[in-house]
Amino acid sequence: MKKYLGTKILVYILTFVFAVTLDWLIPRFMPGNPILVLVSRFSGLPESARVMYSYLTKAFGLDQPLWSQYVNFWIALFKGDLGISIYLYPRPVLEVLKMAIPYSLGLMIPSILLSWIVGNNLGAIAARRKRLDSIMLPIMYFITGAPYLWLGMLLAYFLGVVWDIFPIAGAYSFSLRPHLSWLFVGDFLKHWILPFLSLFIVQIGGWAIGMRNMVIYELENNYVRYLETLGVKRKLIRKYAFRNAILPQVTGLALQLGTVIAGQVTTEVVFSYPGIGYILTQGILNQDYFLIQGCFLFIIIGVLIANFTVDLVYMALDPRIRFSYGGEV
């Protein structure tokens, strides 16, 4: 068990180092040297831009040797200094991201957990009802094939425009300021529901398919065969198969995270929902490289935390993981 966790933690630490290094490396070594392009954009321009120019030269430390640029990058990182946003000048990137993160998590965590629960149950039901399976399976495949953003647009068009039930932009009405009241919470939820649904629905497809296949696979296992020779009720067999099939689905949570994040980013854009994804896109459109880099780091850290949580949950659930295997000397 220690070995399992140890290896995982090592991978996560290396991942973080790798990501930070990449984050530092790419702007400096991409063909055409984007930093120089960026810096030159501000040279010889009016006052405010001149401030920007000197800031950029300093921030990238272009006058220093590479290794010290790299070390400084790490030091700044640990101080929480992710630079200044250009698009929202002069707000620090960290502050911008801090504002955005609750919105992203508020969409993401419920959509992942609920779709996981609903999808797995749907899949388990499909695995034992052939009729339902033959109808549901094709639908599920097309649902997982749908780009999140398109499902978002579809929902926005029908529920937001044609039937005009839900608002389709922002996290709350322009007339309101964030505060704790029924009015605001109601308004917030109304804005939240459509982006949530588009994330929720697409994810259900994947979980349902995965669970269906896993349950069918489990039902062919020898332990199920033996239970059948003992004449136990179908209920117990299904319970065992479901519990064992759910284990790979827990690991699947970590593996799916990448696609879900991609979906999250685009969905936020469709609904102008002010989370990390929306901020990131604004950063891209405005060539705000500090902001882009900051978003990247935030996403990585989030993913690492999520992966680690999944590992802990998995270890608690599966006794088999406690026994490690060796290799050749």
Partner: protein
């Protein structure tokens, strides 16, 4: 072999998936020839027009023909799928084979790299690379998608290789004096062809989806048209709010159908290749 063909032909999922994919492939290839307008970005008529005889899928805010854009977009999607998916499959194969067959420190190293890249979300990686590119074209985009999408394939191929490596025919090839390279190419690979094909289909679909996402958030090709760019423009110019469904809905629908059909084909192929899954 003939048995496989028999089951392939009998498999409804495979047939249905293939028909949908082929339909759009042909549309992507011949669509630009049958559409009335040469340049998808040209202003060819009045804006805000719903579908009509003149404009099969209406026009955009700027009076561009949506159908023309769509067929060009499909063409570019298939291109990204082919190149991006192809590159990802090949890299995944090479790394998976090396790690799985050679084992030892090479395996440890390659798998460490693979696991790291698996943790990092592909889109995040794509963004950080694409955002700094001075010029972006469909080809470059396909390549970076291919360069970032291989890790799961490498891991899957490795575990397949590991299990094949313990088969005695690999040992027999070794005591027949075959080099590692030849064993991988002549003994291991042929046994995995069906699997490789399935991996490619998944990578193909994955690359198409990745490109749509990238284009949509503003990291698409600097010139030209794609499904993702169409969607981006639709959202940017409030096509939804203005009720222009012909602009907002069809591009995504095409992607959904193509990718869904690819997944469907994949399941069908799995049933064809794995007798255990065949329905009696």
């Amino acid at each position: 072999m003939s048995e496989i063909m028999f089951f392939a032909f009998r498999n409804a999922k495979l047939r249905m998936g293939l028909i949908i994919v082929l339909f759009f492939l042909l549309l992507g290839i011949f669509g630009p020839m049958i559409s009335k307008y040469q340049d998808p970005l040209d202003y060819v008529g009045q804006g805000y027009q719903p579908p009509s005889k003149e404009h099969w899928l209406g026009t955009t805010t700027f009076g561009q023909d949506v159908f023309t854009q769509l067929v060009y977009g499909i063409r570019s999607s298939f291109f990204v799928g082919l190149v991006g998916g192809g590159i990802a499959t090949i890299i995944g194969l090479v790394i998976g084979f090396l790690a799985g067959y050679e084992g030892g420190w090479l395996d440890e190293l390659l798998m460490m790299l693979t696991n790291i890249l698996l943790v990092i979300p592909t889109l995040a990686l794509l963004i950080i690379v694409a955002a700094y590119l001075p010029y972006r074209g469909v080809f470059i985009q396909s390549i970076i998608i291919g360069l970032t999408a291989w890790p799961w394939t490498a891991r899957a191929v490795r575990s397949q290789t590991l299990s094949l490596r313990t088969r005695e025919f690999v040992n027999l090839a070794r005591i027949s004096g075959r080099s590692h390279m030849k064993i991988i190419l002549y003994e291991v690979l042929p046994n995995m062809m069906s699997y490789v094909f399935m991996v490619f289909i998944l990578q193909f679909g994955g690359a198409i989806l990745a490109a749509v996402g990238l284009d949509f958030i503003g990291l698409g090709p600097s010139r030209g048209i794609s499904i993702g760019l169409m969607l981006q423009n639709a959202v940017l110019w409030n096509a939804i709010q203005l009720g222009m469904w012909w602009w907002a809905i069809p591009p995504g629908l095409v992607i959904t159908l193509v990718v869904g059909a690819l997944y469907f084909m994949n399941v069908g192929l799995d049933e064809v290749f794995n007798p255990r899954l065949r329905e009696m």
